[in-house]
Symmetry: C2
Subunit: 382 residues, 2 copies
Amino acid sequence: MTTSDASHRRGRRIEGFAAVVPAGGAGTRLWPLSRAGAPKFLHDLTGSGRSLLQATWDRLEPLAGAERVLLVTGRSHAAAVRAALPGLPPENLLLEPSARDSMAAIGLAAAVLERREGPQAVLGSFAADHVIDDDEAFGEAVAQAVAAARTGEVVTIGITPSGPATGFGYIRSAGPLAVEGAPDALRVAEFVEKPDAATAAAYVAGGQHRWNAGMFVVGAGRLLDHLHGQLPALAEGLREVAAAWDSPRREEVTAAVWPGLVKIAIDHAIAEPVAAAGGVAVVPGSFGWDDVGDWDSLATLLPGASSGVAVLGEEAGVLGLAATGVVVAGSGVPGRTVSVLGVPDVVVVDTPDALLVTTREHAQSVKGLVGAWRERGREDLL
Amino acid sequence: MTTSDASHRRGRRIEGFAAVVPAGGAGTRLWPLSRAGAPKFLHDLTGSGRSLLQATWDRLEPLAGAERVLLVTGRSHAAAVRAALPGLPPENLLLEPSARDSMAAIGLAAAVLERREGPQAVLGSFAADHVIDDDEAFGEAVAQAVAAARTGEVVTIGITPSGPATGFGYIRSAGPLAVEGAPDALRVAEFVEKPDAATAAAYVAGGQHRWNAGMFVVGAGRLLDHLHGQLPALAEGLREVAAAWDSPRREEVTAAVWPGLVKIAIDHAIAEPVAAAGGVAVVPGSFGWDDVGDWDSLATLLPGASSGVAVLGEEAGVLGLAATGVVVAGSGVPGRTVSVLGVPDVVVVDTPDALLVTTREHAQSVKGLVGAWRERGREDLL
């Protein structure tokens, strides 16, 4: 890194901000590339040369500093995460004994942060497997969200829709928040579920709805206090684990407490009820964002998808005639080729032990295939 | 083989009949399974455990006897053919120095047979890469054709259409031939080209048209005399090569003569002009037949194709959901799986270095892919 790069990165640092990255979820709809043992966040799905997890690190490390990035993941992914993120301080890799949904994962990081830095520390939670196309604009939105969070708000970053997507939840905003350092922040009126196409079109036309990207920025103590108001046992359990985390008693306490923690998403535990009580703000994010939920979603992110055959992998090995769609040549076998002839919107995912052929229209149903292979006893494919 | 099997087979022997099998053609429309180096006839395309060439041998050997089956193929396929057909007498493997179309291939066999057995020997020529589903009925048709050929006719076996196929040429018949031993034989009025759908439907409804399966039964001398009438230089060249074939001068004469032989199909050289002159008869064949010209054609031959996913290969490795079509899992890689989700009439051909995804509708265009790979310099795939 040159001196000017380093200066630039230091210049983007957000004072008092810690980044929390829950790295979970198997990404089953991206099977057979994404597997239980090698989930979505460990894959380079954009052809950038960096996995989604690494790209998330690259985006957050300049804002928080390496020592203030906390990564929460399952124990089975520890080695892969360490290899992917050599700059992550060992004590900032928080390993869950079992998956207990996003509230426990983010809450554990909040509770550890509260112990280490005090309740006023502001954390921002960002999934390890989303794609963002403008790190600069993302950083500016986070800076505003942190400013708003310092006033006690639970803050989300809502993505300005690029179209009437039906695959995302939406955030409806009310009036301006009027907080110093967060000029664009708005009060959140409510979180709404994934809409149908007509509703989504109305949302986009109305201008008050933004995509819920699952980004939450909030004071660590504030988050746990809100959680205590909704689910006191969960908040107390997380604080109990955190109290022992940086001590010799971590294993003992975690083993005793963790299995009893309720499984719930942070959206249901915090975002929705606190928004209903008027305690959530939204900073609009004008950057490109996608959760890369399935092959159809990925197809829109790859160059060439709209005009012909998009390739994730070695382009020289892929040939499309009379075909528009996405081919993912994930096998990486040298010299192996994929030819697509006259199948519109086809999705081909070529891995060494599993080949998937489907269409973008059926992308949501890939989970069903995974279930069918499980029924056939092919756990090795999952 | 039990004694009764042997008796049964001897019982089907047709006196004075020699089988000629031209094994040529790359089967490009069955790429990437069929390759220049491993053409269609070397593959088991029906899941029977025998290649098309071996199935052809299994069908003809009982009728002609091993010592009277002549196989004509390119030098590059010699080793593969010897391995596939251990019962073929070495002197009956006729290796062409270069491909000069079906007239030269069959004509060489006819000329060699004429030298070895005399002009009255009756040969039947049958492609090495067609599928026939009733060897008994086939044998009965051949026996009638041989009887008719003994009277000097050029005899073809015309397949009773199972539907209005547009992918085959047709044979229009006139009245009965009235020859002893060939009660079903008819005079051929003409050979007609592949029809459009409406014409094909009219052919099937009329009952006078049968599929041209490229099967010709004729006296060896008679065939060469007809050829001499049409293309004297070709007939003379073939007889010159044949005169040297079973002598030390084979290589020398072949090298001098073969490259100058005209490339022409037997249909154009013999069948069409001789039919126009009233010299061709047809024995109707009521057995199932297919030339397995492309993946669409193959799909109809595999069990399960009409109701779901047909598999050529390991069925346990293939899973289809909301999909009807044919999957050919040709790779043979143990444990490798193919999943098809919601792609109607898809064709998936999985080989180690080339994966093809197309639809039955586009089966005829597979040649275009092969050409495109050639343009990209991937001769290794062809």
